[in-house]
């Protein structure tokens, strides 16, 4: 995952941020694991800003102009693996992606993004500062 945004979450108030993001695209692209390579080895569902491409450089928050996420201040992209169902005849079919039914209508597929401090109920001992451009990678595959 990848985000670059300047969020001003108040400190020291307890703060958490949650928002829905519709599916932007489903592509074999992975700018983090395989930058510049198209197609990448794995298929991904991508949500977020319109700067997404095989090789992403610089501050995406400054480059984006729109997003599939609820907050227009955040042009980050987030992507995950895509799941397939293997039928008994050996064929594979991509599993549909369901939007979060607990969020207001208007999100199609996609995912829900959380930013929390220690957790949803507490800041813990942590202080939050505005994000610098950063990339997160969480990868479990190739099994």
């Amino acid at each position: 995952m990848w985000f670059s945004l300047a969020l001003a979450l108040a400190v020291p108030a307890q703060a958490a941020l949650r928002f829905g993001c519709s599916t932007l695209s489903i592509q074999r692209i992975d700018p983090l694991v395989e930058p510049g390579k198209s197609p990448s080895r794995h298929l991904h569902q991508i949500v977020g800003g319109n700067v997404f491409k095989p090789n992403m450089t610089g501050d995406i928050g400054q480059q984006g102009t729109c997003t599939t996420c609820t907050f227009s201040e955040d042009f980050s992209n987030y992507w995950t693996a895509v799941m397939f169902f293997k039928h008994s005849n050996g064929s594979y079919k991509r599993v549909p992606i369901m939007e979060n039914a607990a969020l207001p209508d208007g999100i199609n597929g996609g995912m829900t993004i959380y930013y929390t401090q220690q957790d949803f109920y507490s800041n813990g001992n942590m202080k939050m500062t505005a994000f610098k451009p950063v990339r997160f990678l969480h990868h479990v595959c190739d099994k």
Partner: protein, 63 residues
């Protein structure tokens, strides 16, 4: 920031959780491994960043 490993050999990964949905609003319990059987309402996956802190999933209860 890198979390996890592309070369992971286990189906259980720190920070990766699964919920077997009875319906669209099921949010609990979270399991460490992918559901072994069918899930009536679908499967919800949760990715925690950073995954060194994984006991944070109770926030999902207030979805």
């Amino acid at each position: 920031m890198v979390v996890g490993s592309a070369a992971a050999g286990s189906k259980v990964a720190l920070g990766l959780k699964f919920t077997c949905l009875e319906d669209k609003l099921t949010r609990w319990p979270e399991y460490d491994a992918f559901p072994a059987g069918p899930c009536k309402g679908g499967i919800m996956t949760v990715h925690h960043f950073p995954s060194s802190v994984v006991q944070l999933s109770r926030h999902l209860l207030i979805l």
